[in-house]
């Protein structure tokens, strides 16, 4: 016979700690992470509703199973019976077993039906109307930067600007020479992978202005954790004037594009002021004062450095080389 230690202390401890952990959490903030980030776009809204709908069933099943488990343990524990006394010798009950096979099938059917009903609103890009054209933005993930290319040629890095209330269609990809990334702004929709060699589409229509945070969600190497992204949603006319101003500045070579590129692309590895971090120190070296040499390195890569700027336009290349020469040159 095994030693029988009838101690309920560990069990009581278990219960108390779990209860404390579960109850303390939601008190901290908002929905406390018990539901996805509050949605700010119709497709994120559809996902949120599906989440809540599934949760109703999951919570009910959870209560049922854990309730039965605890009730049975209490009700049918040994108490004063001899340890080896038989319990009821029941081998099964076909009807009961059919019930807990059929029940879940029914529940899953209902869940699937709800999700499929929500699917078009989540997946399909709303078609443009005469007064409200969709804005198409190419989203390109590279190690470890997000590039956003607007129809008029404007490019932005890591922070996307978008107009409120207008459908923004995103064509998400990654260059052939790069790796897989995943585009994700939780408030504005689910993830879509940025995959070399293919273009995936997603969309959002922001319902209010503000800055929405997100980051790359597919392990993409060394600085995956630093591949942050945000979408700044502006009032429509504010956005239009921002876009026009950017176009003018970027073609004229004035404006902060070089600094943006430096922060998004170079500084993650070489340190905020080029003092060296994972990558070598570049501030004050002869290289940064030589635009042609810089272009060579940026377009082709060098050692462990990926060819971050292989596909940058000449304007963009000028912006970064000028920035480097002016700010880091010796």
């Amino acid at each position: 016979m095994p030693p029988i230690v009838r101690s309920s202390r560990p069990l009581a401890l278990v219960g108390a700690a779990v209860a404390a952990a579960v109850l303390a959490a939601p008190a901290l903030a908002g929905n406390g992470g018990f539901a996805p980030v509050p949605p700010e776009s119709p497709n994120a809204q559809g996902i949120h509703q599906s989440y809540v709908f599934i949760s109703i069933f999951c919570f009910a099943i959870f209560l049922l199973v854990e309730g039965l488990l605890i009730a049975f343990i209490i009700r049918y524990r040994r108490r004063n019976r001899p340890r080896n006394a038989d319990g009821a010798q029941i081998h099964g009950a076909s009807r009961l077993e059919l019930a807990w096979t059929g029940g879940p099938v029914l529940i899953l059917f209902v869940i699937a039906a709800f999700v499929f009903a929500k699917l078009p609103g989540i997946q399909d890009v709303p078609s443009a109307s005469a007064g409200n054209q969709n804005l198409v933005v190419d989203v390109i993930g590279t190690q470890f930067t997000w590039q956003f290319r607007y129809p008029n040629g404007v490019v932005a890095f890591d922070t996307m600007r978008a107009p409120e209330g207008r459908t923004v269609e995103l064509h998400v990809t990654s260059p052939d020479w790069d790796v897989i990334h995943s585009w994700w702004i939780p408030a504005l929709a689910g993830k879509i992978d940025a995959i070399p060699g293919r273009v995936n589409k997603t969309w959002f229509r922001a319902q209010r202005t503000g800055v929405f945070q997100g980051q790359c969600a597919e392990l993409c190497g060394l600085f995956h954790a630093k591949m942050l992204a945000s979408v700044e949603v502006m009032a429509p006319d504010e956005f239009d004037s921002w876009l026009a101003q950017q176009q003018q500045e970027q073609s004229a070579g004035t404006g902060p594009l070089g600094a943006e590129m430096w922060t998004a692309t170079c500084a993650k590895c070489h340190g905020p002021s080029g003092e060296g971090d994972y990558g070598p120190k570049i501030a004050g070296t002869a290289l940064v004062s030589d635009p042609q040499a810089v272009e060579q390195v940026i377009r082709n890569g060098f050692g462990a450095m990926p060819p971050v700027g292989r596909d940058w336009t000449d304007d963009e290349m000028t912006a970064i080389t000028t920035y480097l020469k002016e700010n880091l040159g010796g």
Partner: protein, 548 residues
């Protein structure tokens, strides 16, 4: 081990030494113990890596392990736990107990059995050696998605591939051995509807290994070729529009293996639960056939759901719908099992000894892991939660709260049979308390982290009150859990002088309890004719009747 000389075949003297006898052994029980011990070492290594991860993530902007080192630790933790802990530890238990439970003297191919253990040990050496490779260990996650895994510098990734290559051969050989043993070596009277449920689960485990491992080997071979001969082979890198391959192809190949792999790691544990719960509730399993056939159904459907890991890659909608529905179908046989186990408790005479505590703990947390799977199957919701800490929480609820907890139950249950002595009940109960609490404190908050936007596999995160609180909580929980495992180790060490167990300390129902503890070479002098799925229960009843 008690060995009576007359039954021992002639063994050359050099093979009789304390060490040599283990090196040359072909006894399924010794090989089983070798498997368990080696997997235990890998658990210590991979568990230590897990604590490193939690230490780094306790606060944002920590610098314990960052960048590539962090990616290496994440990769080696995941790969270690999946390939070098869970699968082999189950192979070890199955090695020890399948022949005993079916009344056989050994596995069908004892030498092949030894080969599969030694290949595993060798694969383990190759795996660990990658820590010392130029450029460090593999750092692209246990999934090793190209193009990232093609670009990884140094030889860490290559050693990772080779170690898994060797391991797949080991597992395939072992799987064949299990299948042949179960099909051909059952004792008299043990029809398919009378084999223990653990054996049913090992049967399905072995078939799954046999079907999906070659696919993994093929995928990894392609990866290795493309890494070594980049110009010649392009399966996965999309260079150019016509000549190039597709990185998505690798994901299909990997997950065709990867999803059944999850069931390979959990089905034998379902088997353990189906053994332990009836014994400690003093009842037969509720619905033997339903439990057995649901195992087969889960095994079958597990091969039809792989791309639910890939909903975010932009598959056509009809494929998304197929993989969503197929994934949901698996919930049905899994739910059947949970309700059958619950019904086994109903009107029982439940004793809460350590094996039962762990198995009931399994039941309570595995349910959560199953339910969170429904969110991941519904692909629009998956777009929100995939690749976040929600997924990390989900699969730890399945594989840690599920597999590992059930495995500990099996360890406490079968230890007396393996070594003739009990693991301490007192330490066992405390270990359970620490592991159960620590587990939930570690992993429950991770659901919430994922839902609030934290991706997985990042070494630092935004300063955000909620994220900082949950991460800290999770890290604290991981230490509590770590302490629980130190208690497990203590129980194992102390069992050397533990209470002696007789042949059948738990008054259990299956044949392994008919022989001595530990069993002699070749296990049985005679085996009773099997008339039901509970031969020892029948035997006890007949004895009582003859006494009356």
């Amino acid at each position: 081990m008690a060995v009576s000389p007359p039954y021992e075949p002639a063994i050359p003297s050099w093979q009789r030494g304390k060490v040599a006898s283990w090196l040359v052994t072909v006894d399924h029980k010794r090989i089983g113990i070798l498997y368990l011990g080696t997997a235990g070492l890998f658990f210590a290594v991979s568990g230590f890596l897990a604590l490193l991860i939690r230490t780094q993530l306790a606060r944002p902007d920590s610098s314990v392990i960052t960048g590539n080192s962090y990616n290496e630790v994440v990769t080696m933790h995941g790969t270690g736990m999946v390939f070098f802990v869970m699968v082999p530890v189950l192979a070890g238990l199955a090695n020890y107990f399948v022949p005993l439970q079916i009344g056989a003297p050994d596995m069908a191919f004892p030498r092949l059995n030894a080969l599969s253990y030694w290949l595993y040990a060798f694969a383990g050496v190759v795996f660990l050696s990658s820590f010392f490779a130029a450029g460090g260990a593999a750092n692209t996650g246990w999934t090793a998605y190209p193009p990232l895994s093609l670009e990884a510098l140094g030889n860490g990734q290559d050693l990772w591939i080779l170690s898994i290559h060797i391991l797949t051969i080991s597992s395939a050989v072992g799987a064949i051995n299990f299948i042949v043993t179960i099909h051909n070596m059952r004792t008299r009277g043990m029809s398919w509807m009378r084999i223990p449920l653990f054996v049913w689960s090992v049967e399905v485990y072995a078939w799954l290994l046999l079907v999906v491992l070659p696919v993994l080997s093929a995928g990894l071979t392609m990866l290795l070729l493309e890494r070594q001969f980049p110009g010649t082979f392009h399966f996965f890198r999309p260079e150019g529009t016509d000549a190039g391959g597709s990185p998505i192809l690798y994901q299909h190949v990997f997950w065709f293996f990867g999803h059944p792999e999850v069931y390979i790691m959990i089905l034998p544990v379902f088997g353990i639960i189906s053994e332990v719960i009836p014994v400690f509730a003093r009842k037969p399993i509720f619905g033997y056939k339903a439990v057995a056939f649901s195992t087969v159904a889960i095994g079958f459907f597990s091969m039809l759901v792989w791309a639910h890991h890939m909903f975010a890659v932009g598959m056509p909608t009809y494929l998304n719908i197929w993989f969503m529905l197929a994934s949901m179908v698996i919930a049905v046989p899994t739910g059947m099992k949970i309700f059958n186990w619950l019904a086994t408790l109903w009107r029982g005479n439940i004793t809460l000894e350590t094996p039962m505590l762990f198995c009931l703990g399994f039941l309570s947390v595995f349910t959560i892991g199953g339910l969170s799977g429904i969110y991941l199957a519904a692909f629009p919701v998956d777009w929100q939660v995939t690749d976040t800490y929600f997924v990390v929480a989900h699969f730890h609820y399945v594989l840690f709260g599920g597999s590992m907890m059930g495995l500990l139950g099996g360890l406490w249950y079968w230890w007396p049979k393996m070594f003739g002595r009990f693991l301490s009940e007192r330490i066992g109960k405390w270990a359970f308390a620490f592991i159960f609490v620590g587990f939930n404190v570690t992993f429950f908050p991770q659901h919430l982290l994922g839902l609030s936007g934290m991706p997985r596999r990042i070494y630092t995160y935004r300063h955000d009150g909620l994220w900082e609180a949950y991460n800290m909580l999770s890290s604290v929980g991981s230490y509590v859990m770590g302490f629980g495992f130190l208690l497990v180790l203590l129980a194992i060490v102390k069992s050397v002088n533990g209470r002696r167990a007789g042949n059948d300390p738990w008054q259990a129902d299956t044949l392994e309890w008919y022989t001595t503890s530990p069993p002699p070479p070749h296990n049985f002098d005679d085996v009773p004719y099997v008339t039901s799925a509970r031969p020892l229960y029948d035997l006890r009843r007949r004895l009582e009747e003859s006494r009356a």
